[in-house]
Symmetry: C2
Subunit: 242 residues, 2 copies
């Protein structure tokens, strides 16, 4: 009996998932766009000291030194860039992607344009929704975070980071788009490098910021669909020259 109940639950989950996929596809109405359902993870890590160390290193033009074993100072080593976990891992920039996939089970999606469907938006802050996005020969990390910058006033922050250096990041532009109920909100910016800390990007507010009320307007049944597109930033450079 228990077995049948569980099977029935799993089938219901699958139907719900399929329905969410369908809805997100319909909202963005773009043939061939990948829809990725991203479940939330309660944020465990808030370690400002680590961020401060990373930030200082980036500003000084060197890759961040190890912060867990103070004796090691190999500038090629990067601490784990996943903003979710207090992870002792460190490694070269080239193996960050495989670490995030294997250890933290973060999905990676291919394609120039994808739809990120964050579920359970009602969960209390702090909560993160994270995927990796492989595009134009590089890997990007999309972080959606629910956080209370001001007590009792949770907000949603969405940003995209390149798994690469700040110089490489300057070559790209990312776009996040919300589209529902005859309302549309678009944010376009240059991605930051994962060598800069996602916490500092969010505390600076240099990302897509949504109040709870706006997030609810764009949500459908507790899920928020964010269209993501990445381009090379030649257009931006051309505009700057004009």
């Amino acid at each position: 009996m228990l077995f049948f109940t569980q099977c029935f639950g799993a089938v219901l989950d699958l139907i719900h998932l399929r329905f969410q996929h369908y809805k997100a596809k319909r909202v963005f109405s773009a043939a061939g766009q990948l829809v990725c359902v991203v479940n939330p993870t309660h944020s465990l890590k808030y370690a400002p000291t680590r961020c401060a160390a990373v930030q200082t290193s980036v500003e000084q033009g060197v890759l961040p030194p190890c912060h867990h074993h103070e004796a090691v100072h190999d500038p090629q080593l990067v601490p784990c860039t996943c903003p979710l976990f207090s992870c002792p891992w460190e490694g070269h920039l080239e193996v960050v992607v495989s670490h995030l996939r294997q250890t933290h089970r973060i999905n990676i999606l291919q394609g120039a344009e994808i739809v990120f469907l964050a579920t359970d938006m009602h969960l209390p802050a702090p909560t993160d929704w994270i995927i990796m996005h492989s595009c134009l020969g590089h890997q990007f990390l999309l972080v959606l975070r629910k956080q209370e910058k001001y007590e009792g006033h949770p907000q949603f922050f969405a940003t995209m980071m390149l798994i690469g250096t700040p110089t490489q990041a300057d070559n790209f532009t990312y776009r996040l788009e919300l589209n529902r109920n005859q309302r549309r909100l678009k944010w376009e910016a240059t991605p930051r490098s994962v060598l800069e800390c996602v916490d500092s990007v969010i505390s600076d507010g240099d990302c897509l910021v949504l109040n709870t009320s706006l997030a609810q307007l764009f949500s459908d049944n507790g899920s928020l669909a964010i269209g993501i597109a990445i381009t090379t930033s030649k257009v931006h450079n051309a505009e700057a020259e004009m």
Copy 2:
């Protein structure tokens, strides 16, 4: 001597204004776009009772009754829609525009696309920046408001309202665009009617919302340039059908 000092001040103001025009034009880099410098006005009016009355009337499908002289109940009469002043005026929808121009000196601009340049963004909340926009045979009211929804945490709210009925408003889409420093933020929505209260639109958060940090990122020397475009909403309807 005083005369010369004042003249010199006026010339400096003109040069500063010209420079702001030039910068806003360069940012939006669109030939033929009108740039309107909008000075702030400290908000005097916060009368929730009036708004509640208007809101109830709109929901019931009738135009709001007079709230200053309770005896008058002509459903064709609209109280002054200017969100700035506690104004006792009331009149028919057709003469709202001339009232706003003549009594409250609100500028009106022609053109499908204009740039709204709000000055002195640093002024404390509550502050409003307002213009009217004449386009596609109708007049719209653009309101940018700095308000503290949460104490000590001022935010900017921008919305566009049609000086017409809610049914007429449904035929249009407005777009507000911020563009600076390789960042771009776009908000698209159906305008509300001035018969609905601007205060309730802002308290619902159904508009472009900017934190102080984001507003600073998009501001240039204390001024925020907002590109405005209005279209008929056929595109939206086509999308909804897809």
